[in-house]
Symmetry: D2
Subunit: 149 residues, 4 copies
């Protein structure tokens, strides 16, 4: 997560490890504000895009997860550090990884990286609890545990 | 701004007639874009705020309408004319009126008016069809017809 | 544009003509609402994505158009017809075309198409006027006229 | 503030202290998602509404702060804890307070409270740095320091 110095042997953005999943977004005009930069709440939307793509690349659609299990990954906490501003039309990489996986909760961490020149735009995390459609906590569906571990 | 000439006897913004329902919004930073103005899709969100307040002032909550009738006013058409730009922190009046009410459809029209100085910011309309939660058309619940006519 | 019947010789979605430009979006959770469908204002955001991609595929970035010409394509009118609902995680094609190009205005038309099964989700149009950063009308920058004609 | 027990002498929501500033929002349909609850990024928009109202109630418009000082409160960090879900049409109180005020940074904290029955929906904070329109850090304009201390 790494905003500090990194050793020569350890590249700062190890983009192709097997633990991070990457996807791209291009900044929409709708996502900017009158400061000329991306409005800060939109980073949480990109985190959500990152989570969905994490699921897809691990082998399932989050849409099916909800539909087939009466289970929802409700957000309990979210945080974001804004490091360098993103601007309209920037092509950004969203990198997503599971940091902590428990019986009833899961924590994702994220890096938003501008591609050219490569710069960390933001880092963040979200903590989720598994709820059913009545809003009651439940355990992670067993069939899906392997996708996250 | 001025959508057409108005006679002296007929004020241009008859804000307190019984047919229009009014509510206020203040422009959020989130609603601006890098042009320094309100992003155009947000006017449709304000139309939705106007519809909800129309219902409330006519005597019911749209939330209850959905819940009690298994009925949704799905949007079939929307249009907006942008006349003068709205800016961050502007206090705006949303005026809403039913233009057409039929067995299975309803058309609302809207005016967005800046208060100081009073200027028409935008006008628009939305056409809705009544659907159940399965997405099938149904008739307007009888108990609610009086609220719209 | 075509929601009516089409002749056998004229396929209903001539996706690869040279006049339409296509790009894809995947529906985000943020774009849904409690009806379980995409919230209606988000279609206008997708229209904006379509316009930006239209420019890029024609040879320039809309970002540069603004920056290099002190010119903005401010929206004067927008309209959308919602034909079949889009849902979370749907992969959608946004098709964009210039319908009318004048000295100081331009009209884009759009089709949002679900890919599988192929269905028209929505159609719409936006009318734009060229403004400078002070909000005054100006003519289309000469160097860019060829991109739209 | 206080998710733990509170003493009888210390009411859990001391809404009318002089340090907290309160304002109301009503949840929009646009702010819900297909889970039937408010989408998590929208809480950051409400925090922004809280900040703007904090400024107004302290005696100035944030709009003027930007315009008169070439100064922007850019967000460096944001975090939110989601405690109980907010739903469409809920009337919410946004409570905002300055937790830390330094030469070049300011930290706001927030509580989102449902009014009936009174429940803490979310708590959070944002850290801001003062930037000029070129994105360079600057000190807080002297004339405004008194509003925040």
């Amino acid at each position: 997560m790494t905003s500090g110095p990194s050793s020569p042997a350890e590249p700062e953005f190890p983009i192709s490890t097997n633990s991070w999943v990457s996807t791209e977004v291009r900044v929409r005009y709708a996502e900017t504000d009158q400061m000329g930069l991306v409005y800060y709440a939109n980073y949480l939307v990109w985190f959500e895009v990152g989570r969905a793509e994490f699921c897809r690349q691990r082998g399932f659609a989050y849409r099916d997860f909800e539909r087939d299990n009466d289970a929802y990954l409700a957000v309990a906490e979210a945080q974001c550090r804004y490091r360098t501003p993103a601007r309209y039309d920037d092509l950004l990489l969203i990198r997503t990884r599971v940091e902590e996986f428990r019986k009833r909760t899961i924590r994702f961490v994220y890096e938003i990286v501008r591609k050219d020149p490569q710069t960390i735009v933001a880092t963040g995390s979200t903590l989720h609890v598994v709820l059913n459609s009545q809003g009651r906590p439940k355990s992670f569906p067993a069939a899906y545990r392997g996708y996250f571990e």
